[in-house]
Protein backbone atom coordinates (compact mmCIF):
# COMPACT_ATOMS: atom_id res chain seq x y z
CA UNK A 1 0.00 0.00 0.00
CA UNK A 2 1.27 3.43 -0.89
CA UNK A 3 1.02 6.08 1.81
CA UNK A 4 1.25 9.76 1.01
CA UNK A 5 1.88 12.10 3.93
CA UNK A 6 1.44 15.81 3.27
CA UNK A 7 3.26 17.76 5.93
CA UNK A 8 3.40 21.51 6.48
CA UNK A 9 6.61 21.83 4.52
CA UNK A 10 6.47 19.03 1.95
CA UNK A 11 5.05 15.65 1.03
CA UNK A 12 6.41 12.13 1.45
CA UNK A 13 5.53 8.79 -0.06
CA UNK A 14 6.32 5.37 1.33
CA UNK A 15 5.09 1.80 1.21
CA UNK A 16 3.24 0.17 4.10
CA UNK A 17 2.92 -3.57 4.49
CA UNK A 18 -0.48 -5.07 5.17
CA UNK A 19 -1.13 -4.94 8.92
CA UNK A 20 1.68 -2.45 9.44
CA UNK A 21 0.99 0.73 11.37
CA UNK A 22 1.47 3.81 9.18
CA UNK A 23 3.84 5.37 11.72
CA UNK A 24 6.13 2.37 11.69
CA UNK A 25 6.06 2.18 7.89
CA UNK A 26 7.07 5.83 7.61
CA UNK A 27 9.83 5.67 10.22
CA UNK A 28 11.20 2.52 8.58
CA UNK A 29 11.30 4.40 5.26
CA UNK A 30 13.36 7.21 6.79
CA UNK A 31 10.55 9.75 7.19
CA UNK A 32 10.83 11.42 10.57
CA UNK A 33 7.09 11.44 11.33
CA UNK A 34 6.07 13.00 14.64
CA UNK A 35 5.66 10.56 17.53
CA UNK A 36 6.57 10.16 21.15
CA UNK A 37 5.24 7.00 22.73
CA UNK A 38 4.54 5.05 19.55
CA UNK A 39 1.94 3.05 21.47
CA UNK A 40 -1.29 5.03 21.35
CA UNK A 41 -1.17 7.14 24.49
CA UNK A 42 0.45 10.51 23.80
CA UNK A 43 -1.45 11.68 20.71
CA UNK A 44 1.65 13.22 19.13
CA UNK A 45 1.35 11.20 15.90
CA UNK A 46 -2.12 12.44 15.03
CA UNK A 47 -2.87 13.05 11.37
CA UNK A 48 -5.88 13.78 9.20
CA UNK A 49 -7.13 11.15 6.79
CA UNK A 50 -7.57 12.95 3.47
CA UNK A 51 -8.15 10.00 1.13
CA UNK A 52 -8.25 6.23 1.35
CA UNK A 53 -9.35 3.83 4.04
CA UNK A 54 -7.55 3.01 7.26
CA UNK A 55 -8.32 0.56 10.01
CA UNK A 56 -7.78 1.52 13.64
CA UNK A 57 -5.87 -1.28 15.35
CA UNK A 58 -6.86 -0.03 18.82
CA UNK A 59 -10.05 2.10 18.87
CA UNK A 60 -9.78 2.47 22.67
CA UNK A 61 -6.28 3.99 22.54
CA UNK A 62 -6.07 6.69 25.24
CA UNK A 63 -4.30 9.00 22.78
CA UNK A 64 -7.55 9.31 20.84
CA UNK A 65 -8.66 11.91 23.37
CA UNK A 66 -6.38 14.36 21.56
CA UNK A 67 -8.21 13.88 18.27
CA UNK A 68 -10.87 16.34 17.17
CA UNK A 69 -14.08 14.38 16.67
CA UNK A 70 -15.68 14.28 13.25
CA UNK A 71 -12.62 15.62 11.42
CA UNK A 72 -11.18 12.35 10.20
CA UNK A 73 -8.22 12.49 12.58
CA UNK A 74 -6.33 9.30 13.34
CA UNK A 75 -3.28 8.17 15.31
CA UNK A 76 -0.57 7.03 12.89
CA UNK A 77 0.80 4.60 15.48
CA UNK A 78 -2.52 2.73 15.48
CA UNK A 79 -3.86 3.05 11.95
CA UNK A 80 -3.23 0.45 9.30
CA UNK A 81 -3.73 1.22 5.60
CA UNK A 82 -6.44 -0.76 3.85
CA UNK A 83 -5.36 0.51 0.43
CA UNK A 84 -3.53 3.61 -0.74
CA UNK A 85 -3.79 6.42 1.79
CA UNK A 86 -3.27 10.16 1.88
CA UNK A 87 -2.72 11.76 5.27
CA UNK A 88 -2.12 15.31 6.32
CA UNK A 89 0.18 16.17 9.23
CA UNK A 90 0.21 19.75 10.46
CA UNK A 91 3.84 19.56 11.63
CA UNK A 92 7.04 20.18 9.76
CA UNK A 93 8.36 16.77 8.76
CA UNK A 94 11.80 16.01 7.36
CA UNK A 95 13.81 13.01 6.33
CA UNK A 96 15.37 11.22 9.30
CA UNK A 97 18.75 12.42 10.46
CA UNK A 98 21.31 10.36 8.51
CA UNK A 99 23.18 9.67 11.77
CA UNK A 100 20.13 8.17 13.50
CA UNK A 101 19.55 4.43 13.78
CA UNK A 102 16.78 3.56 11.33
CA UNK A 103 13.99 1.72 13.12
CA UNK A 104 12.59 -1.51 11.82
CA UNK A 105 10.58 -4.55 12.83
CA UNK A 106 12.37 -7.57 14.27
CA UNK A 107 11.67 -10.51 16.48
CA UNK A 108 13.38 -12.05 19.45
CA UNK A 109 13.15 -14.57 22.24
CA UNK A 110 12.64 -13.66 25.87
CA UNK A 111 15.59 -14.70 28.08
CA UNK A 112 16.56 -14.71 31.75
CA UNK A 113 13.49 -13.19 33.34
CA UNK A 114 14.57 -12.11 36.82
CA UNK A 115 12.79 -10.55 39.79
CA UNK A 116 14.52 -7.36 40.97
CA UNK A 117 11.98 -6.14 43.53
CA UNK A 118 8.44 -7.10 44.48
CA UNK A 119 7.13 -5.25 41.40
CA UNK A 120 10.08 -4.91 39.02
CA UNK A 121 11.50 -7.57 36.71
CA UNK A 122 14.36 -7.59 34.26
CA UNK A 123 14.65 -9.70 31.14
CA UNK A 124 16.67 -9.94 27.95
CA UNK A 125 15.57 -10.33 24.35
CA UNK A 126 17.77 -12.39 22.07
CA UNK A 127 17.33 -10.78 18.65
CA UNK A 128 16.97 -12.55 15.32
CA UNK A 129 19.66 -10.24 13.93
CA UNK A 130 21.98 -7.59 15.33
CA UNK A 131 20.56 -4.10 15.77
CA UNK A 132 21.99 -0.64 16.38
CA UNK A 133 20.41 1.78 18.80
CA UNK A 134 21.39 4.93 20.66
CA UNK A 135 21.71 5.18 24.41
CA UNK A 136 18.36 6.31 25.81
CA UNK A 137 16.20 4.82 23.05
CA UNK A 138 13.31 2.42 23.40
CA UNK A 139 11.51 -0.26 21.40
CA UNK A 140 7.85 -1.18 21.30
CA UNK A 141 7.17 -4.81 22.01
CA UNK A 142 4.27 -7.26 21.68
CA UNK A 143 3.93 -10.59 23.47
CA UNK A 144 1.95 -13.58 22.24
CA UNK A 145 -1.71 -13.28 23.16
CA UNK A 146 -1.35 -9.72 24.49
CA UNK A 147 -3.07 -7.00 22.45
CA UNK A 148 -0.97 -4.04 21.32
CA UNK A 149 2.58 -2.82 21.79
CA UNK A 150 4.22 -1.51 24.95
CA UNK A 151 7.27 0.74 24.99
CA UNK A 152 10.37 -0.20 26.99
CA UNK A 153 13.76 1.49 27.08
CA UNK A 154 16.90 -0.52 26.61
CA UNK A 155 19.09 -0.86 29.71
CA UNK A 156 22.25 -1.89 27.91
CA UNK A 157 24.21 -0.14 25.20
CA UNK A 158 26.18 -1.65 22.37
CA UNK A 159 26.48 -1.36 18.62
CA UNK A 160 25.18 -4.30 16.60
CA UNK A 161 23.53 -5.64 19.75
CA UNK A 162 22.45 -9.26 19.63
CA UNK A 163 20.61 -8.88 22.86
CA UNK A 164 18.55 -6.10 24.43
CA UNK A 165 18.03 -5.77 28.19
CA UNK A 166 14.88 -4.35 29.79
CA UNK A 167 13.24 -3.66 33.12
CA UNK A 168 9.49 -3.76 33.56
CA UNK A 169 7.47 -2.47 36.47
CA UNK A 170 4.36 -4.45 37.25
CA UNK A 171 1.22 -2.50 36.47
CA UNK A 172 -2.14 -3.76 37.59
CA UNK A 173 -4.13 -4.45 34.47
CA UNK A 174 -1.11 -3.72 32.28
CA UNK A 175 -1.23 -6.29 29.47
CA UNK A 176 2.46 -6.89 28.95
CA UNK A 177 3.61 -6.61 32.56
CA UNK A 178 0.86 -8.90 33.85
CA UNK A 179 1.80 -11.39 31.15
CA UNK A 180 5.43 -11.20 32.20
CA UNK A 181 4.79 -11.42 35.94
CA UNK A 182 2.17 -14.12 35.47
CA UNK A 183 4.47 -16.99 34.58
CA UNK A 184 7.91 -18.16 33.48
CA UNK A 185 8.21 -16.83 29.92
CA UNK A 186 11.67 -18.13 29.01
CA UNK A 187 11.93 -18.48 25.23
CA UNK A 188 8.65 -16.71 24.46
CA UNK A 189 8.69 -15.08 21.01
CA UNK A 190 8.37 -11.30 21.01
CA UNK A 191 7.67 -8.89 18.15
CA UNK A 192 9.62 -5.63 18.34
CA UNK A 193 9.75 -2.36 16.47
CA UNK A 194 12.49 0.16 17.04
CA UNK A 195 14.70 1.75 18.05
CA UNK A 196 12.61 4.84 18.79
CA UNK A 197 12.99 8.01 20.83
CA UNK A 198 15.16 11.10 20.76
CA UNK A 199 16.12 11.38 24.41
CA UNK A 200 19.49 10.03 23.40
CA UNK A 201 23.00 10.55 24.69
CA UNK A 202 26.04 10.60 22.44
CA UNK A 203 29.49 11.78 23.52
CA UNK A 204 29.58 14.66 21.01
CA UNK A 205 27.03 16.41 23.24
CA UNK A 206 30.10 17.54 25.17
CA UNK A 207 28.16 18.68 28.21
CA UNK A 208 27.96 17.63 31.83
CA UNK A 209 25.24 15.04 32.18
CA UNK A 210 22.36 15.11 34.66
CA UNK A 211 20.15 12.01 34.71
CA UNK A 212 16.88 12.04 36.67
CA UNK A 213 14.94 8.79 36.85
CA UNK A 214 11.84 7.71 38.71
CA UNK A 215 11.37 3.95 39.18
CA UNK A 216 11.75 1.93 35.99
CA UNK A 217 12.63 5.17 34.18
CA UNK A 218 16.15 4.21 35.26
CA UNK A 219 16.33 1.85 32.23
CA UNK A 220 17.32 4.45 29.63
CA UNK A 221 19.65 6.12 32.13
CA UNK A 222 21.55 2.85 32.60
CA UNK A 223 22.04 2.77 28.85
CA UNK A 224 23.32 6.35 28.91
CA UNK A 225 25.73 5.49 31.75
CA UNK A 226 26.85 2.39 29.83
CA UNK A 227 27.70 4.40 26.74
CA UNK A 228 29.35 7.16 28.78
CA UNK A 229 31.41 4.55 30.64
CA UNK A 230 32.51 2.92 27.40
CA UNK A 231 33.69 6.30 26.12
CA UNK A 232 35.30 7.24 29.48
CA UNK A 233 33.07 10.32 29.26
CA UNK A 234 33.21 11.09 32.97
CA UNK A 235 36.96 11.56 32.88
CA UNK A 236 36.36 14.86 31.09
CA UNK A 237 32.79 15.74 32.12
CA UNK A 238 30.77 15.77 35.32
CA UNK A 239 27.88 13.39 35.73
CA UNK A 240 25.02 13.27 38.20
CA UNK A 241 22.46 10.51 38.44
CA UNK A 242 19.36 10.80 40.64
CA UNK A 243 17.28 7.66 41.03
CA UNK A 244 13.93 8.02 42.80
CA UNK A 245 12.17 5.07 44.45
CA UNK A 246 9.81 4.73 47.39
CA UNK A 247 11.94 2.77 49.86
CA UNK A 248 15.15 0.74 49.89
CA UNK A 249 13.00 -2.32 49.10
CA UNK A 250 12.04 -0.70 45.79
CA UNK A 251 15.61 0.10 44.76
CA UNK A 252 17.42 -2.04 42.19
CA UNK A 253 20.55 -1.82 40.03
CA UNK A 254 22.45 -0.56 43.09
CA UNK A 255 25.28 -2.98 42.45
CA UNK A 256 25.54 -1.88 38.82
CA UNK A 257 25.38 1.79 39.80
CA UNK A 258 28.11 1.27 42.44
CA UNK A 259 30.32 -0.40 39.89
CA UNK A 260 29.86 2.42 37.34
CA UNK A 261 30.53 5.01 40.03
CA UNK A 262 33.70 3.15 40.99
CA UNK A 263 35.12 3.86 37.53
CA UNK A 264 34.77 7.62 37.91
CA UNK A 265 34.85 8.46 41.61
CA UNK A 266 36.03 12.01 40.91
CA UNK A 267 33.32 13.25 38.57
CA UNK A 268 30.29 10.98 38.77
CA UNK A 269 27.85 11.26 41.68
CA UNK A 270 24.91 8.90 42.09
CA UNK A 271 22.08 9.67 44.50
CA UNK A 272 19.19 7.37 45.39
CA UNK A 273 16.19 9.38 46.61
CA UNK A 274 13.73 7.55 48.89
CA UNK A 275 10.34 9.25 48.90
CA UNK A 276 8.63 7.15 51.61
CA UNK A 277 10.39 7.29 54.95
CA UNK A 278 13.90 8.11 56.11
CA UNK A 279 17.10 6.64 54.75
CA UNK A 280 18.05 3.54 56.78
CA UNK A 281 21.49 3.64 58.38
CA UNK A 282 22.41 0.45 56.53
CA UNK A 283 22.11 2.11 53.11
CA UNK A 284 25.32 4.12 53.29
CA UNK A 285 27.13 1.15 54.88
CA UNK A 286 26.01 -1.32 52.22
CA UNK A 287 26.56 1.04 49.29
CA UNK A 288 29.50 3.29 50.17
CA UNK A 289 29.83 4.61 46.61
CA UNK A 290 26.26 5.88 46.47
CA UNK A 291 24.56 8.76 48.18
CA UNK A 292 21.09 8.57 49.66
CA UNK A 293 18.51 11.27 50.24
CA UNK A 294 15.05 11.36 51.73
CA UNK A 295 12.39 12.95 49.52
CA UNK A 296 11.04 13.03 46.01
CA UNK A 297 13.63 12.77 43.30
CA UNK A 298 13.14 16.34 41.99
CA UNK A 299 13.63 17.64 45.54
CA UNK A 300 16.90 15.74 45.80
CA UNK A 301 17.97 17.30 42.50
CA UNK A 302 17.02 20.78 43.66
CA UNK A 303 18.95 20.36 46.86
CA UNK A 304 22.12 18.83 45.44
CA UNK A 305 22.40 20.63 42.11
CA UNK A 306 21.99 24.29 43.09
CA UNK A 307 24.72 26.30 41.39
CA UNK A 308 25.93 23.39 39.25
CA UNK A 309 23.77 23.75 36.15
CA UNK A 310 26.32 25.40 33.90
CA UNK A 311 26.86 23.49 30.66
CA UNK A 312 24.43 20.73 31.68
CA UNK A 313 22.39 18.42 29.45
CA UNK A 314 19.59 16.77 31.43
CA UNK A 315 17.80 13.49 30.78
CA UNK A 316 14.56 12.71 32.57
CA UNK A 317 12.39 9.57 32.61
CA UNK A 318 9.79 8.14 34.90
CA UNK A 319 6.13 8.41 35.87
CA UNK A 320 4.46 11.53 34.43
CA UNK A 321 4.18 13.35 37.78
CA UNK A 322 7.86 12.82 38.56
CA UNK A 323 8.86 13.95 35.08
CA UNK A 324 6.71 17.09 35.30
CA UNK A 325 8.15 18.00 38.69
CA UNK A 326 11.69 17.51 37.38
CA UNK A 327 10.99 19.61 34.26
CA UNK A 328 9.69 22.38 36.49
CA UNK A 329 12.96 22.40 38.44
CA UNK A 330 15.08 22.28 35.30
CA UNK A 331 13.23 25.08 33.53
CA UNK A 332 12.23 27.44 36.31
CA UNK A 333 15.08 27.05 38.76
CA UNK A 334 18.02 25.64 36.81
CA UNK A 335 17.06 27.81 33.81
CA UNK A 336 18.25 25.13 31.41
CA UNK A 337 17.30 25.82 27.81
CA UNK A 338 14.64 23.47 26.46
CA UNK A 339 17.02 21.91 23.94
CA UNK A 340 19.18 20.71 26.82
CA UNK A 341 16.36 18.79 28.45
CA UNK A 342 15.52 15.37 27.01
CA UNK A 343 12.72 13.33 28.47
CA UNK A 344 10.29 10.51 27.98
CA UNK A 345 6.96 10.81 29.71
CA UNK A 346 4.87 7.76 29.08
CA UNK A 347 5.67 5.10 31.61
Amino acid sequence: MRVQVNARNRGFQFEARPDEQVLYAGLRAGVDLPYECGTGTCGTCKAKLVAGRARDAWPQAPGRKYLKPGQGEILMCQCVAEGDLTLEVSNFVNASDPGACTPGACSGLLRDQKTLTHDVMSFGVELDRPRDFDAGQFVVMAAPGVVGYRAYSMVNYERAARRLEFVVKRKLGGGFSEWLFGSVREGAPLALFGPLGKATFYPAVGRNILCIAGGSGIAGMMSILARATEERYFESHDGWMFFGVRTMCDAFFLEELSRIRGNFPGRLAITVALSDGPVPASAARDWPGLQFAHGLVHEAVKHAMAGKYRNVRAYVAGPPLAVDAALRVLLLEAKLTADNIRYDKFT
Binding site: Q4, N6, A7, R8, N9, R10, G11, D32, G43, T44, K46, Y66, K68, E88, S90, N91, F92, N94, A95, S96, D97, P98, G99, A100, K198, Y202, D324, L327, R328, L331, L332, T337, A338, D339, I341
Partner: protein
Amino acid sequence: MTAKTFVCRAADVPANGIREVGTAGGLKLLVANAGDDYYGYQAICPHQDVPLCEGLYDGSVLTCHMHLWQWDVRTGAPIGLAEAPLEKYPLIVEEGAIYLGVQPSALDVGELFHGIAPRCIEALVALARRETHELGSVLYRPGDPAADFFVLEAGRVEFLIGRDDRTSPGGFMLKKGEVFGWAALLDGQPARIASARCLERSELLRINGRAALQVLESEPAAGFDVMRRLAALIARYLASSGAK
Protein backbone atom coordinates in the same frame (compact mmCIF):
# COMPACT_ATOMS: atom_id res chain seq x y z
CA MET B 1 -17.29 53.89 18.60
CA THR B 2 -17.63 50.22 19.44
CA ALA B 3 -17.59 49.09 23.04
CA LYS B 4 -14.29 47.73 24.26
CA THR B 5 -14.15 43.99 24.76
CA PHE B 6 -13.68 43.20 28.43
CA VAL B 7 -11.14 40.42 29.08
CA CYS B 8 -10.86 40.13 32.87
CA ARG B 9 -9.96 42.09 35.95
CA ALA B 10 -6.25 42.67 36.45
CA ALA B 11 -6.61 41.20 39.93
CA ASP B 12 -7.78 37.90 38.38
CA VAL B 13 -4.31 37.28 36.94
CA PRO B 14 -1.79 36.10 39.54
CA ALA B 15 1.30 38.28 39.95
CA ASN B 16 3.90 37.03 37.47
CA GLY B 17 1.40 34.34 36.60
CA ILE B 18 -0.85 33.25 33.77
CA ARG B 19 -4.54 32.64 33.37
CA GLU B 20 -6.85 31.49 30.59
CA VAL B 21 -9.78 33.82 29.96
CA GLY B 22 -12.76 33.60 27.60
CA THR B 23 -14.22 36.85 26.25
CA ALA B 24 -17.87 37.52 25.58
CA GLY B 25 -17.08 37.20 21.86
CA GLY B 26 -16.00 33.58 22.34
CA LEU B 27 -12.29 34.29 22.07
CA LYS B 28 -10.01 32.30 24.37
CA LEU B 29 -6.95 34.15 25.57
CA LEU B 30 -3.98 33.48 27.76
CA VAL B 31 -3.33 36.53 29.90
CA ALA B 32 0.12 36.82 31.47
CA ASN B 33 1.30 39.28 34.06
CA ALA B 34 4.91 40.49 34.21
CA GLY B 35 5.40 43.16 36.86
CA ASP B 36 3.19 46.08 35.82
CA ASP B 37 2.47 44.70 32.36
CA TYR B 38 -0.18 42.36 30.99
CA TYR B 39 0.09 40.41 27.77
CA GLY B 40 -2.56 38.53 25.83
CA TYR B 41 -1.84 35.51 23.62
CA GLN B 42 -3.62 32.68 21.89
CA ALA B 43 -4.72 30.26 24.62
CA ILE B 44 -3.61 27.11 22.79
CA CYS B 45 -0.06 26.11 21.90
CA PRO B 46 0.55 26.53 18.14
CA HIS B 47 2.20 23.09 18.16
CA GLN B 48 -0.39 20.55 19.30
CA ASP B 49 -3.57 21.98 20.79
CA VAL B 50 -2.30 22.01 24.37
CA PRO B 51 -3.73 24.75 26.65
CA LEU B 52 -0.89 27.12 27.47
CA CYS B 53 -2.38 27.87 30.88
CA GLU B 54 -1.18 24.38 31.90
CA GLY B 55 2.36 25.43 31.01
CA LEU B 56 5.19 26.87 33.06
CA TYR B 57 5.83 30.56 33.47
CA ASP B 58 8.50 32.39 35.42
CA GLY B 59 7.43 35.97 34.77
CA SER B 60 9.39 36.29 31.53
CA VAL B 61 9.44 32.99 29.61
CA LEU B 62 6.32 30.97 28.90
CA THR B 63 6.83 27.21 28.37
CA CYS B 64 4.30 24.69 27.05
CA HIS B 65 4.64 21.64 29.27
CA MET B 66 4.06 19.17 26.44
CA HIS B 67 7.15 19.65 24.28
CA LEU B 68 8.86 22.59 25.98
CA TRP B 69 8.18 25.13 23.28
CA GLN B 70 8.98 28.53 24.80
CA TRP B 71 8.19 32.17 24.11
CA ASP B 72 9.28 35.58 25.28
CA VAL B 73 6.21 36.82 27.13
CA ARG B 74 6.81 40.44 26.09
CA THR B 75 6.72 39.73 22.35
CA GLY B 76 5.47 36.18 21.79
CA ALA B 77 8.67 35.47 19.86
CA PRO B 78 9.73 31.82 19.87
CA ILE B 79 12.72 30.76 22.00
CA GLY B 80 14.72 27.54 21.74
CA LEU B 81 12.71 24.61 20.42
CA ALA B 82 9.61 26.59 19.49
CA GLU B 83 8.98 26.70 15.76
CA ALA B 84 6.29 29.36 15.71
CA PRO B 85 5.52 32.63 17.48
CA LEU B 86 2.41 33.09 19.59
CA GLU B 87 -0.39 35.19 18.21
CA LYS B 88 -0.48 38.30 20.34
CA TYR B 89 -3.59 40.21 21.39
CA PRO B 90 -2.74 43.73 22.55
CA LEU B 91 -4.38 44.51 25.89
CA ILE B 92 -5.40 47.79 27.45
CA VAL B 93 -5.52 48.11 31.24
CA GLU B 94 -7.87 50.75 32.62
CA GLU B 95 -8.73 51.13 36.29
CA GLY B 96 -8.01 47.56 37.14
CA ALA B 97 -9.84 46.10 34.14
CA ILE B 98 -8.22 44.51 31.09
CA TYR B 99 -9.68 45.08 27.61
CA LEU B 100 -8.74 43.89 24.13
CA GLY B 101 -6.76 46.44 22.12
CA VAL B 102 -6.58 46.82 18.37
CA GLN B 103 -5.60 43.62 16.55
CA PRO B 104 -2.26 43.93 14.76
CA SER B 105 -1.87 43.40 11.04
CA ALA B 106 -0.93 39.91 9.89
CA LEU B 107 2.36 41.49 8.87
CA ASP B 108 3.24 42.16 12.48
CA VAL B 109 2.25 38.64 13.56
CA GLY B 110 4.25 36.38 11.29
CA GLU B 111 7.81 35.26 11.87
CA LEU B 112 9.31 37.33 9.05
CA PHE B 113 8.35 40.88 10.06
CA HIS B 114 7.19 40.48 13.65
CA GLY B 115 8.54 43.17 15.97
CA ILE B 116 10.64 45.11 13.46
CA ALA B 117 10.63 48.94 13.58
CA PRO B 118 7.01 50.20 13.56
CA ARG B 119 7.93 52.67 10.79
CA CYS B 120 8.92 49.75 8.65
CA ILE B 121 5.76 47.76 9.39
CA GLU B 122 3.68 50.82 8.54
CA ALA B 123 5.49 51.26 5.23
CA LEU B 124 4.93 47.58 4.38
CA VAL B 125 1.28 47.74 5.42
CA ALA B 126 0.92 50.73 3.07
CA LEU B 127 2.27 48.56 0.24
CA ALA B 128 -0.04 45.66 1.01
CA ARG B 129 -3.14 44.95 -1.04
CA ARG B 130 -5.77 42.97 0.81
CA GLU B 131 -7.28 40.18 -1.30
CA THR B 132 -9.91 37.55 -0.68
CA HIS B 133 -9.75 34.33 -2.67
CA GLU B 134 -12.38 31.65 -2.82
CA LEU B 135 -11.83 27.94 -2.24
CA GLY B 136 -9.95 26.43 -5.16
CA SER B 137 -8.58 29.66 -6.62
CA VAL B 138 -5.02 29.44 -7.84
CA LEU B 139 -2.76 32.30 -6.78
CA TYR B 140 0.11 31.37 -9.08
CA ARG B 141 1.50 28.53 -11.18
CA PRO B 142 5.02 27.37 -11.99
CA GLY B 143 6.65 29.79 -14.40
CA ASP B 144 4.50 32.78 -13.39
CA PRO B 145 6.52 35.89 -12.57
CA ALA B 146 7.46 36.01 -8.89
CA ALA B 147 6.84 39.71 -8.35
CA ASP B 148 4.75 39.63 -5.19
CA PHE B 149 4.84 37.77 -1.92
CA PHE B 150 1.86 37.01 0.29
CA VAL B 151 1.06 37.15 3.99
CA LEU B 152 -1.77 34.92 5.16
CA GLU B 153 -4.41 36.78 7.12
CA ALA B 154 -6.85 33.86 7.38
CA GLY B 155 -7.56 30.65 5.53
CA ARG B 156 -5.42 27.90 4.09
CA VAL B 157 -3.17 27.72 1.04
CA GLU B 158 -1.49 24.61 -0.36
CA PHE B 159 1.53 24.29 -2.64
CA LEU B 160 2.29 21.81 -5.38
CA ILE B 161 5.78 21.50 -6.83
CA GLY B 162 6.21 20.39 -10.44
CA ARG B 163 3.73 20.58 -13.28
CA ASP B 164 1.08 18.60 -15.13
CA ASP B 165 0.74 15.14 -13.66
CA ARG B 166 4.24 15.13 -12.16
CA THR B 167 3.61 17.10 -9.00
CA SER B 168 4.43 16.57 -5.37
CA PRO B 169 2.95 18.35 -2.38
CA GLY B 170 5.04 21.26 -1.18
CA GLY B 171 3.31 21.85 2.12
CA PHE B 172 0.59 24.24 3.22
CA MET B 173 0.09 27.48 5.12
CA LEU B 174 -2.55 27.88 7.76
CA LYS B 175 -1.43 30.39 10.39
CA LYS B 176 -2.06 34.10 10.41
CA GLY B 177 1.13 35.89 9.46
CA GLU B 178 2.72 33.06 7.48
CA VAL B 179 4.61 34.34 4.46
CA PHE B 180 4.78 32.57 1.11
CA GLY B 181 5.87 33.32 -2.41
CA TRP B 182 9.12 34.59 -0.90
CA ALA B 183 10.94 34.17 -4.23
CA ALA B 184 9.77 37.78 -4.71
CA LEU B 185 12.28 38.80 -2.02
CA LEU B 186 15.20 36.92 -3.56
CA ASP B 187 17.56 37.80 -6.39
CA GLY B 188 17.73 35.47 -9.36
CA GLN B 189 14.33 33.86 -8.67
CA PRO B 190 12.18 35.53 -11.30
CA ALA B 191 9.60 32.75 -11.64
CA ARG B 192 7.40 30.59 -9.40
CA ILE B 193 8.51 26.99 -8.94
CA ALA B 194 5.26 25.83 -7.35
CA SER B 195 1.57 26.45 -7.65
CA ALA B 196 -0.39 27.94 -4.76
CA ARG B 197 -4.06 27.14 -4.35
CA CYS B 198 -6.56 28.11 -1.66
CA LEU B 199 -7.96 25.13 0.22
CA GLU B 200 -10.61 27.34 1.76
CA ARG B 201 -11.72 30.93 1.38
CA SER B 202 -8.57 32.85 2.27
CA GLU B 203 -7.64 36.41 3.06
CA LEU B 204 -4.20 37.53 1.99
CA LEU B 205 -1.98 40.57 1.95
CA ARG B 206 -0.21 40.86 -1.40
CA ILE B 207 3.01 42.89 -1.33
CA ASN B 208 5.35 43.72 -4.19
CA GLY B 209 8.77 42.22 -3.46
CA ARG B 210 10.83 44.97 -5.05
CA ALA B 211 8.95 47.71 -3.20
CA ALA B 212 9.28 45.80 0.08
CA LEU B 213 13.03 45.47 -0.46
CA GLN B 214 13.27 49.22 -0.94
CA VAL B 215 11.54 49.74 2.41
CA LEU B 216 13.96 47.31 4.04
CA GLU B 217 16.95 49.04 2.40
CA SER B 218 15.89 52.32 3.94
CA GLU B 219 15.86 50.68 7.39
CA PRO B 220 19.00 48.55 7.32
CA ALA B 221 18.64 47.25 10.89
CA ALA B 222 15.13 45.99 10.20
CA GLY B 223 16.21 44.80 6.75
CA PHE B 224 19.06 42.78 8.23
CA ASP B 225 16.70 41.21 10.75
CA VAL B 226 14.18 40.28 8.06
CA MET B 227 16.88 38.76 5.82
CA ARG B 228 18.21 36.71 8.73
CA ARG B 229 14.75 35.42 9.43
CA LEU B 230 14.12 34.74 5.76
CA ALA B 231 17.31 32.66 5.64
CA ALA B 232 16.14 30.70 8.70
CA LEU B 233 12.71 30.21 7.14
CA ILE B 234 14.16 28.85 3.91
CA ALA B 235 16.57 26.63 5.87
CA ARG B 236 13.60 25.17 7.71
CA TYR B 237 12.08 24.09 4.42
CA LEU B 238 15.36 22.54 3.32
CA ALA B 239 16.28 20.97 6.64
CA SER B 240 16.60 17.41 7.70
CA SER B 241 15.66 16.96 11.32
CA GLY B 242 19.28 16.58 12.36
CA ALA B 243 20.73 15.55 15.70
CA LYS B 244 19.88 18.03 18.39
